[in-house]
């Protein structure tokens, strides 16, 4: 296996969320919400999925497939070497229907389609079947750390030379009932919009790219010395901004306090007020950073200071879950862009 370091490029990044779907309209005209629970804005799925295929798919599967096909199309790759997916809870809406039927009618009258969709890896396998990509296919289900885990898997496989392209995504839906549970369990906090998101990102060693992925690190309960060391290592070439998971909730935002001292003076960005909070939130932050580097600037709407930021060196995406699990992804502009 080759250990030579090839660059990993982000060829495309697509989202369906509470912002306009499959579009970067949010950069100029973001949708604003006063509600604390908002479902995703869906595109017309018929352009991606036939009525026959769609009838066995819940919302999450349709969104996962639409963002995946859209990302593959824009990136110009039909058959990625790997499909790696994150999801906090999979097709929870169908899981609820399946469990409701189980409680109501016992085990005798359960619907096979709901059963099939009640497993977390359905999205990744559906994408594999639909695109006829029969290579590496894996699903990570680590609550709000799912996308980060999927991305890290892809990163490692690129590094050891096992793959040359990967479709990495994260998809989560939020039913009305489930949103109540999620709030009670503290996964979505006061002041945060409980939302849904499906994000697909196409990574490859070559191709016309939005930006490059320069590094991914995951840390569990790191000491302040480790955080200092990792940040110094990842940002030694300089960065334009740091994309944080700050949401406006004081407990959540306190987890990012280390950035104020360790990356003093670096503009901080926030994607959660725009995209809301769900188990695929960090994927929307990664997506937003890739879009900013593609455009060459960060729109004021993302910036904590309310001012736009020019991008020439890179954006560090930071996700902290439950104050313990840390992920860092460094995105850099394409050389010469």
């Amino acid at each position: 296996m080759s250990m030579e370091k090839e660059s990993v490029n982000i060829l495309s990044a697509k989202q369906i969320s509470i912002q306009a779907p499959l579009s970067e309209e949010w950069m100029d005209n973001p949708l604003n919400y006063s509600e604390d629970y908002v479902r995703a804005v869906d595109p017309d799925f018929k352009q991606f999925i036939s009525a026959g295929d769609a009838r066995r798919m819940g919302k999450l599967l349709k969104r996962a497939l639409a963002t995946s096909l859209s990302a593959l199309q824009e990136g110009g790759i039909d058959n990625p070497d790997a499909i790696i997916t994150g999801t906090g809870f999979g097709s929870i809406e169908n899981t609820e229907l399946f469990l409701d039927a189980l409680v109501r009618e016992g085990e005798q009258l359960l619907k096979p389609t709901q059963f099939m969709q009640s497993t977390h890896n359905t999205a990744s396998s559906l994408i594999g079947i639909h695109t006829r990509c029969h290579g590496y296919n894996s699903t990570y289900s680590q609550k709000g750390f799912s996308f980060d885990s999927a991305l890290y898997d892809a990163w490692m496989q690129f590094r050891i030379g096992r793959i040359k392209s990967a479709l990495v995504g994260s998809h989560d839906e939020m039913s009305p009932v489930f949103s109540g549970f999620v709030r009670k369990a503290g996964h979505v906090k006061e002041g945060e919009i409980c939302s849904e998101a499906a994000v697909s990102v196409l990574l490859a060693e070559s191709g016309n790219a939005y930006c490059t992925l320069d590094g991914v690190r995951l840390l569990d309960t790191p000491s302040s010395d480790t955080l200092k060391e990792v940040l110094a290592d990842m940002t030694d070439g300089g960065i334009d901004a740091v994309m944080t998971g700050k949401s406006g909730n004081s407990e959540n935002d306190s987890w990012y306090g280390f950035l104020d001292t360790l990356l003093q003076g670096v503009p901080q960005l926030r994607y959660k007020p725009l995209f809301g909070v769900n188990f695929s939130s960090s994927a929307t932050g990664f997506y937003a950073a890739a879009c900013c580097l593609r455009k060459g600037s960060v729109p004021a709407v993302l910036s904590e200071s309310g001012k736009g930021v020019e991008c020439s060196k890179g954006i560090l995406v930071v996700n902290v879950v439950e104050g313990r699990h840390y992920s860092f992804s460094l995105l850099k502009p394409v050389c010469g862009k």
Partner: protein
């Protein structure tokens, strides 16, 4: 029987999530599987559940489904003769 056929078609459309199909689009004599509606083996399981849940018909031998689900007319006739609710 007309009323029963219409109800059955509506139930099939709902349970199989045939979004773009209306009851009048389904030919009473056309095959449900393969040609016609183009249903498959998972749909057959859904129809077995539908018959038990809505009409109290427990299909002991799933292989029999091939004959019962031949068309809407055949299915409606079977339900009419065997229903317990």
């Amino acid at each position: 029987m007309e009323e029963m056929i219409l109800k059955l078609k509506q139930e099939i459309i709902e349970v199989l999530n045939l979004e773009d199909i209306k009851p009048e689009d389904i030919d009473n004599d056309a095959p449900l599987f393969g040609e016609g509606l183009g249903l498959d083996s998972i749909d057959a399981l859904e129809l077995i559940v539908l018959m038990e849940k809505n009409y109290g018909i427990k299909l002991q031998d799933p292989a029999k489904g091939k004959e019962i689900f031949k068309s809407i007319n055949v299915m409606a006739d079977y339900i009419q003769k065997n229903r317990t609710r």
